[in-house]
């Protein structure tokens, strides 16, 4: 992708983010932070590239360390969000 198309994706995504996040109910703001945390660990893609490719041993180990950190976040973030969301219940009227 050339720079302009990447930039277009970025700018449009900012707008999408703006509208989507405003529609999140305030009661779920803590799960929102937890799940945005998990998805921002998509940076693992960069970490995987660094650790997968030959060329530099140092880069490989930095990449592997980044994979560990990002995985903590991905699994931890999604799991804790799931745990929180499971608690939001509506009680059946007796």
């Amino acid at each position: 992708m050339d720079f302009i198309s990447i930039l277009s994706v970025f700018v449009l995504a900012c707008f999408v983010g703006y509208y989507v996040v405003w529609s999140v109910t305030p009661a779920l703001h803590t799960p929102l932070m937890a799940v945005t945390n998990a998805i921002s660990s998509v940076i693992i893609v960069g970490a995987l590239v660094a650790s997968a490719e030959a060329g530099s041993a140092a880069a490989k180990y930095l990449g592997l360390l980044a994979v560990v950190f990002a995985s903590v976040n991905i699994f931890g973030g999604f799991a804790v969000t799931e745990r929180m969301l499971a608690m939001y219940k509506k009680k059946e009227r007796k």
Binding site: A58, A59, G77, V80
Partner: protein
């Protein structure tokens, strides 16, 4: 080696799909009913992104990578299972720091092995100019996120005092450091020497630390949201370096999410973002109240039995929880109290101020944990008019968010902040540890001294348990 231009269209589509699934994950949070499906979509999106990356690269170290994922994933999973809901702000801060660190490591790896990332100029054999800026910014934001989040974690976790730490001439130091970082990133375009890259990284770690130490505990909701936003921008910057749409979309989503949350928090405190970042708020908490030194003003003190009696007689009770409830873990006892009152035919509702607690939505999670149905929990603007019809406002561990000085006293530091109008209720029950400590703003609260207020001075959880006993017989 992979040239960016050679990425097959199927791969780009896969990353795009991951990005769209992440958007849907956030969209699901518009209501508790759809939220879990949204979270699952986020998981699928992440799986697609990881699988696509592994599939499209000549992976020379698959066992190590899988080992790294298993180790990290295992740690994350165990933490997520074990963490107490009251510790959620710390956990989120800790997770932010990991995203920041990962961004720094990926940036460093890209600098050391640019060929693997396809950012080398074929003609000169040097890193593309645009990539240098993206990398520099990504590493800088990542490092700030890391050290800032570590400080936020230490403050939230109580390893470090929540009080602001003020260095002399800190604004000058901070602005100077920021200018140096930006200047060096600019210079990086003309000179690819390693020392520039590493200096930018080191300075960014330092500035993240300096930016957060002067910010007091009560401003943490803004700080945590802000670091959330930074972690997104760091991911986006790395996405630019890699030309990866999943990373860019996610970065933009997370970045705007954190920014919006910071905005909501600032608005709920009637403070500007700049003044929060400048720090120092709450520095002299307890020393200078708006009404001057307050000594021995008359107030009514009540017992748990009085409170139980009063609420039993009421038609409607509105409960206002705050950070004090989280500290003393009173949410379960509180729900029990609510159940007993409902059994007596009392209407029970919960009113939540946007900045109650230490992170956005903190109180809602705790009440949900204690099994309070979410349709009994209301936001400020939805319930504020109902205090006038309520018999009892039960304030537990909240203070400044109920202070009428925010409306009446122009000299008050919290003037203009939207508040919950508990003073309008027929009676106010105010659970507070002691009369001594004022709220985070260091302002005395008129509500304490009103004729229809009864102060319940005790640890929040103990007091509620006593009231439950009182209601039970």
């Amino acid at each position: 080696m992979h040239e960016i231009a050679q990425i097959p269209w199927g791969v780009s589509l896969a990353y795009l799909a991951a990005g769209v699934l992440f958007i849907l994950a956030l969209r699901g949070l518009s209501s508790p009913a759809t939220s879990r499906r949204g979270n699952r979509m986020g998981m699928i999106g992440m799986a697609i992104a990881v699988a696509t990356t592994l599939y499209t690269h000549d992976v020379v170290s698959l066992p190590e990578i899988i080992g790294a994922i298993v180790i990290g994933g295992g740690i994350g999973f165990i933490i997520a299972r074990r963490i107490a809901m009251t510790d959620m702000p710390q956990l989120v801060a800790a997770f932010h720091s990991l995203v920041g660190m990962a961004a720094v490591l990926v940036g460093a790896a890209a600098f050391l092995n640019p060929g693997a990332f396809g950012i080398l100029d074929v003609v000169t054999g040097e890193i593309h100019n645009a990539s240098r800026i993206e990398m520099g910014l990504g590493v800088a934001i990542g490092a700030i996120t890391f050290s800032g989040s570590v400080i936020a974690f230490l403050k939230l976790n109580g390893n470090m005092s929540g009080k602001p730490i003020m260095l002399p001439a800190r604004h000058l130091i901070n602005l100077g450091t920021l200018a140096a970082i930006l200047g060096l990133i600019g210079y990086f375009v003309t000179d690819q020497s390693p020392w520039i890259f590493w200096t930018v990284t080191a300075l960014s770690f330092i500035i993240g630390f300096l930016l957060i130490i002067p910010i007091g505990g009560a401003d943490m909701p803004v700080v945590v949201s802000m670091l959330n936003s930074y972690s997104g921008w760091a991911a986006a910057a790395m996405g630019f370096t890699l030309g990866n749409s999943a990373m860019i979309i996610t970065g933009a989503l997370v970045g705007s999410s954190g920014a919006i949350l910071s905005y909501i928090m600032c608005k709920a405190m009637n403070r500007s973002f700049i003044s929060v970042i400048a720090g120092g708020f709450g520095a002299d908490a307890g020393s200078a109240g708006a009404g001057g030194p307050v000594i021995d003003r008359a107030y009514k003190r009540g017992s748990a039995e009085d409170a139980a009696f009063l609420m039993k007689q009421a038609d409607s009770v509105i409960i206002v929880p705050g950070y004090g409830m989280a500290v003393s873990q009173a949410q379960h006892a509180l729900r029990e109290m609510g159940d007993l009152l409902k059994a007596e035919g009392v209407k029970v509702k919960y009113a939540i101020h946007p900045v109650a607690g230490r992170m956005p939505g903190h109180m809602n999670v705790l009440l949900a944990e204690a099994n309070v149905s979410y349709d009994e929990v209301f936001e400020l603007e939805d319930i504020n008019s109902e205090f006038a019809q309520a018999d009892v406002a039960f304030v537990i561990g909240a203070n400044d968010v109920t202070n009428p000085a925010a409306k009446t006293d122009k000299s008050s530091p919290i003037y203009g902040m939207p508040i919950l109008d508990v003073a309008n209720a027929k009676s106010v029950l105010f659970v507070k540890r002691s009369m001594g400590g004022a709220g985070y703003a260091g302002v005395d609260n008129e509500v304490f001294y009103m004729d229809n207020t009864m102060m319940l001075l005790a640890d929040a959880k103990k007091m509620v348990e006593e009231i439950v006993k009182g209601l039970a017989h």
